[in-house]
Subunit: 197 residues, 2 copies
DNA sequence: AATTTATGTCAGCCATATTGACTTATTTCG
DNA sequence: CGAAATAAGTCAATATGGCTGACATAAATT
């Protein structure tokens, strides 16, 4: 017995005919979209599982992934900003970041304009790992998107964006936008740009 | 300073024009949908934050939420099945389940046909908490879905389903399907019985 | 009767997060 | 200028939620 099967095993995708939706005066039990709640749980669980496997080979965990990902996508990110993105404490970040720096995945570059700051940048080695993990997740996402109608990707994007707390959306949009034109320069000679207002 | 803003703060939603997609021979960097990866991270982070707040009032954590949720949705769920759903170990489940039972949120009912089994069922109190948490998540989901085109909900459902590991989809579909006709009976008939071996 | 299964428990370990207190530079501001 | 605020880092203690391994018990299966 290798595969666990909970309940019966009729292999059919979840049907999606019903959706009363229009009565919302107290969110009565009937209107709670349990299927979406559960699908999101399972989807995210599998989405993070692939990278986790790879990371464990390196002695890293999911926390390292998050740090490396955002640093790779946003070179010269400053520690305070990273804390804001991840919404964790300085102490939590410290441990993970120190490992990534010590093992040569991330460099810390003193700020030029504000010398208190440390600009974070993925090394070549860091970029490689970050991209390897990103490609794993991309494969899954691409396959899922491929199965949708033409406008599927855009609808999914909108959905996910709307799931974010309203007051956080601006920051997320800006972050994604900033990462967009990050072509991951070959870790060459760039000096830390000042991130001061 | 209460709000942390990473990078700039131009409050516009992520644009979604680009999508080369057609060149996949090695998933070159350009084709990695970083925006989706990040949106999924932020969406899930906020999705779980609301329940977490409520749970902490009860001295519970996210693990308790998951257990309570699936037990509530699938009355008489058996321990082995729950382990399969959550993909955690017996020992990990044991801790949280014991707390939920001790504090009267879940009942364990010896199996009728197979008396080794313990059927798990949410008590009235458990159902209340489960529904309170589910409604919180439902609000967020409903608001997000509302902002989409008519077929948005269905596309999102398909997307999330396709994000699940192929070999797990059957089980998930069956589980969701089973939960569908769970009308959360008023905890009437079965008596607690002795949970002794 | 022997084996397997379902459940549970003890003991210890690891990863990730938290709070609180405090230090060191450095910048900003009155 | 000098005080206050900020960026980063550190030490220590604690909580949560995973994990492995070893075992125990009752009940079902073979």
């Amino acid at each position: 017995m290798a595969d666990i099967n909970f309940k019966t095993d009729t292999s059919k995708p979840p049907r999606g005919g019903r959706e009363p939706q229009g009565d919302n005066r107290a969110a009565p039990n009937d209107t709670v979209p349990f299927d979406l709640i559960e699908l999101l749980f399972f989807a995210y669980r599998d989405f993070t599982a692939d990278p986790d496997d790879v990371l464990s080979e390196f002695g890293f965990g999911r926390a390292h992934h998050r740090v490396l990902h955002f640093v790779n996508r946003n070179p010269d990110l400053v520690v305070t900003d990273l804390l804001g993105i991840l919404k964790i404490t300085k102490q939590s970040l410290g441990r993970v970041l120190k490992q990534l720096v010590d093992e040569g995945y991330i460099r810390q570059i003193p700020g030029a304009s504000d010398r208190r700051q440390r600009h974070l940048r993925a090394t070549d080695k860091g970029q490689e790992l970050a991209m390897r993990l990103a490609r794993l997740q991309a494969e899954r996402l691409d396959r899922a998107i491929m199965a949708l109608p033409d406008d599927g990707a855009e609808i999914v994007r909108q959905f996910l964006f709307q799931m974010i707390n309203p007051d956080g959306r601006g920051d997320v949009a800006a972050l994604i936008d900033a990462g967009r034109d990050t072509q991951a320069p070959p870790d060459g000679g760039t000096k830390p740009k000042d991130s001061r207002p």
